[in-house]
Subunit: 337 residues, 2 copies
DNA sequence: AAACTAAGGGAAACCGTTTTAGGAGGGGAA
DNA sequence: TTCCCCTCCTAAAACGGTTTCCCTTAGTTT
């Protein structure tokens, strides 16, 4: 039999109500009593039973992170881990715990259950799994939520995201500064909101330089190493060869670099390459990759803070970009020494 | 006001006890009653309140995964995500949820709290964060647990791990088969249990071939790309040059390959390279890496099943290796076509 | 027909907290 | 002195299920 609040009350010669108040603060209790209770708690090594607590308080003290742990996708999203890390830290700091849910392909039922069961106080979604249907569902229940990343359809959901357009702009600007003019873009399919946002930013940078992104230099495919390779080959075979390539993400970039190397295209002299998000291996590709990096850990952290805010004040509404992208210049865009 | 079990009971014209029994099964209830109750539940869109359930049942229905989400370390452990994925799936299948806990540097208090608070029914630890102190703590509380990976000190904890020695053996065997004889090993520090286990296996393979691992060809350092690079350089500068290098993990391998390339050492003709764990980028290094791969997803899955077993039968004791390593041969050990 | 058994169902206890409503006691104001 | 107000504390009622224990009923044995 574990020690309960009653044992503490008895030992401290007071009522359970008083003990509870001492634990939770926010009530006026005389200093003497507080001391007595504290001593009793210490003596009995008492810790409140969390299950009873969340039952009585009508709040679980936990937040769900709904994302995809899909085997292959997870590999494509090393970021997920860092986001989760930031999220967990933000929550733990306030005594909340993080429950990870894998949202298999369109399985809204799992999320509905989560809200119905009241097993968590709030939900953080990864934009990658957000569908219109799911969005409706969350709004209908008026459940505290935050989406990390921008949903790729209009919605009234609360979200926070990195500034992807700005990232794209920075990438293109950098290339322009190194004297490149014929920029190509290798991105995901149209539904890939991140890729599109970055492209948008890149286009903006060109426009501001009174240049234009050539439509035939914009390629779209799956976000895989293989497709990055193929799209690059297609670009090389085209009539207008670019003098720089912006890759929407690291997988495409890996494929791209590989294709350039195989075809013995000098990087960056003939074609420079820039991509997004710094990874350990960005430094050891041949040549090392220039990237526009964003702080995903911080993104998770902010999301954590926001969901806690939302839980406190459910009416809170926000849609925002956070964390500024930062350019890390490596050999894929600058001459080797 | 949410709908409760009472509402259902009233509508189905029965008692809450009966409704509860219908929900949980395992009691004899007439078919007619079951139907009536089910209908009422459906009509009211009733879902049991999970907080109340875990309070009444004295079981939270969740399992903690205690690991390190440390910013840098997480990058070094892309595996963590896959393990987590397998774990989550195994748990979800049985209606359990996964709580992720970051165990900051030796913070046993967090784990003790977890057990004291009874906020989870069992704990899965990642071996990387296992200390003697923590081990004692868990054993003292007799708390259901599973350690993924082998603790690097003797302990009575329950654990499951990949067969790292066998992986090492396979790696070395493969090199021997391709005609290599002077094997070098680039690994983590002595306390890196995984690295040591793989080395042990590699040594065994050599022994069986009546060869010996030369001590001066065994290097130890941090598991970073940089140290992999440096250790390889040291090997190249040594008097006895190896004709093959076994790298304890992918970071070391990346550094190693890089160093060989920089020094224009032909791979695999002069020196072959083999490492462990397949990553997307294993395919696109120059040359692509031969790896001995293990199924970490499955590891997580098995750990999930085991912790559920332990929760049911706390006396269960096991320490075991699972999942067989598999060799994936690429150009870093075979001649290019 | 009586006695026994098994199955179905309900009343009430229980799980360990929090929270509410109210009581006791002391101090200050009228 | 009386009244009021504050402070500190407590008894008891939630919170929403599960589980135990017992009662009823119908079927089976003897």
């Amino acid at each position: 039999m574990a020690t309960t609040i009653k044992d503490v009350a008895k030992l401290a010669n007071t009522s359970t109500a008083t003990v509870s108040k001492v634990i939770n603060g926010s009530y006026s209790i005389s200093e003497a009593t507080v001391k007595r209770v504290r001593a009793a708690m210490r003596e009995l090594k008492y810790t409140p039973n969390r299950r009873a607590q969340s039952f009585a308080k009508q709040a679980s003290g936990s937040v769900a992170f709904v994302t995809t742990l899909e085997r292959d996708v997870a590999f494509q999203n090393p970021h997920m881990f860092e986001i989760m890390s930031g999220l967990q830290h933000a929550l733990a700091r306030k005594g909340y715990s993080l429950v990870v849910i894998d949202m298999a392909e369109g399985n809204c039922a799992a999320v509905e259950e989560l809200m119905l069961q009241k097993s968590v106080d709030g939900i953080v979604f990864h934009a990658a799994i957000m569908t219109r249907e799911l969005s409706q569902l969350v709004l209908r229940y008026e459940f505290p939520h935050v989406v990390i990343g921008t949903p790729n359809f209009p919605s009234k959901l609360c979200w926070i995201d990195n500034n992807n357009p700005l990232s794209g702009e920075l990438a293109a600007l950098h290339l322009l500064e190194t004297g490149k003019r014929l920029l190509a873009y290798i991105g995901g399919k149209e539904m890939d909101a991140i890729s599109e946002a970055r492209l948008k930013g890149a286009k903006l940078a060109m426009q501001e330089a009174r240049l234009k992104f050539r439509d035939d230099l914009i390629m779209r495919g799956e976000s895989t190493i293989d497709d990055g390779f193929d799209m690059t080959k297609t670009l090389l075979a085209g009539q207008t060869k670019p003098d720089a390539i912006v890759c929407a993400n690291n997988r495409l970039a890996l494929g791209c670099i590989n294709a350039l190397n195989v075809n013995k295209v000098p990087i960056p002299d003939a074609i420079a390459v820039v991509t997004f998000d710094d990874y350990p291996f960005s430094r050891i590709t041949n040549p090392p990759l220039t990237v526009v990096n964003i702080d995903v850990y911080d993104l998770g952290m902010q999301a954590g803070k926001m969901i806690l805010d939302k839980i406190k004040k459910p009416k809170l509404q926000f849609q925002t970009y956070i964390t500024l992208p930062k350019l890390i210049i490596r050999e894929s865009t600058k001459k080797r020494q």
